[in-house]
């Protein structure tokens, strides 16, 4: 699985509002959302990672989006659904690895930003990236 973050180039990057496009993909399947808050997505996926380990199915509030993200464990597989899109992973660990990589890349992008400390979401992403 690969999580691709594309930052909105219409604006200067700043840690306060991290807008852009996210794409979760594996093989020919993909979940995409444009013009969205990327830190919120990463936080929702981290939350899902923690919750799904003890549950068969969880609904995750993306806060700024009208639709929720859904995760479901089926045998050894992990299915992530959003609107009409879905991605099927080999398991929770595949999500963890991809998520850690994208969290680390986000922190690298913003760690020198003067607003880094003001963004609580980014601080949570940072804690996950370092875990």
């Amino acid at each position: 699985m690969y999580i691709e973050l594309t930052y909105d180039e219409d604006f200067e990057l700043n840690a306060e509002e991290i807008l852009g496009k996210i794409k979760l993909s594996k093989d020919r399947q993909a979940i995409e959302e444009d013009n969205t808050y990327l830190d919120s997505w990463i936080i929702a996926l981290i939350e899902g990672l923690h919750k799904i380990e003890g549950n068969g199915r969880v609904l995750l509030d993306l806060i700024e989006e009208s639709a929720s993200l859904e995760m479901e464990r089926s045998n050894e597989l992990l299915v992530i659904k959003y609107k009409t899109q879905k991605v099927v992973l080999d398991g929770v660990e595949e999500l963890r690895a991809a998520l850690k990589e994208s969290a680390q890349s986000m922190i690298l992008k913003f760690r020198s930003d003067e607003n880094f400390g003001q963004n609580n979401l980014l601080k949570q992403v940072s804690a996950f990236a370092a875990s």
């Binding site: 604006f11 806060i63 639709a67 963004n119 609580n120």
Partner: protein
């Protein structure tokens, strides 16, 4: 700001058809200066087609970038002129009087994504109207449903086009509007 109290804004089009802007704006609000400037900026396509004006407390403007001027032209427009009433908008994060909530250009771009949800229920819904609705919902502390990650999340059932729907408003930790949408 020029000698007449106007904010000169230059804009034109790159050879690939994308828009560039160049401006330097200072706004005095409540005794403090809030400045916002962009130079040789590539402005996104999202601004094309928007025809709303939005009020942001003391800052109330809509600034036009209009392709009618033609590709490759270099233009200067004044937000107070008739030229400035046609199209896209720029926003400044400035909380207005009476606690009126501001919205950044990024926030406005995201909110515009959800406009079609509202227009599906009421074709006359405008971005300016949605922003004002969001300001009203978030101004009532009874609507606060949570503060995840420092964001403030408000929600209220609203009648839109004869349909009662849950409208959610999300504020940044600094109080600026971050999202306004209908919950599914």
């Amino acid at each position: 700001m020029d000698a007449n109290g106007n904010f000169p804004i230059e804009y034109g089009y790159n050879t690939d058809g994308s828009l560039w802007t160049n401006f330097n704006i200072g706004v005095t609000v409540g005794g403090s200066l809030s400045s916002w400037q962009r130079a040789n900026d590539r402005t996104s396509n999202f601004i094309y087609g928007l025809t709303n004006t939005v009020s942001f407390g003391l800052v109330d403007w809509a600034i036009a970038f209009d392709r009618r001027h033609g590709l490759g032209e270099h233009n200067e427009i004044n937000p107070n002129s008739s030229d400035a009433q046609a199209g896209a908008m720029m926003a400044v994060v400035v909380p207005g009087p009476g606690g009126k909530l501001g919205v950044s250009a990024k926030g406005l771009k995201h909110i515009a994504k959800h406009l079609s949800q509202f227009q599906a229920l009421n074709p006359r819904a405008t971005l300016g109207g949605i922003v004002r609705l969001g300001q009203r919902i978030a101004s009532n502390s009874n609507n606060l449903i949570g503060t995840p990650g420092g964001r403030q999340v408000f929600q209220q059932s609203v009648n839109i086009g004869g349909n009662q729907v849950p409208v959610r408003v999300v504020l940044n930790p600094n109080g600026g509007l971050r999202s306004i949408h209908i919950r599914q």
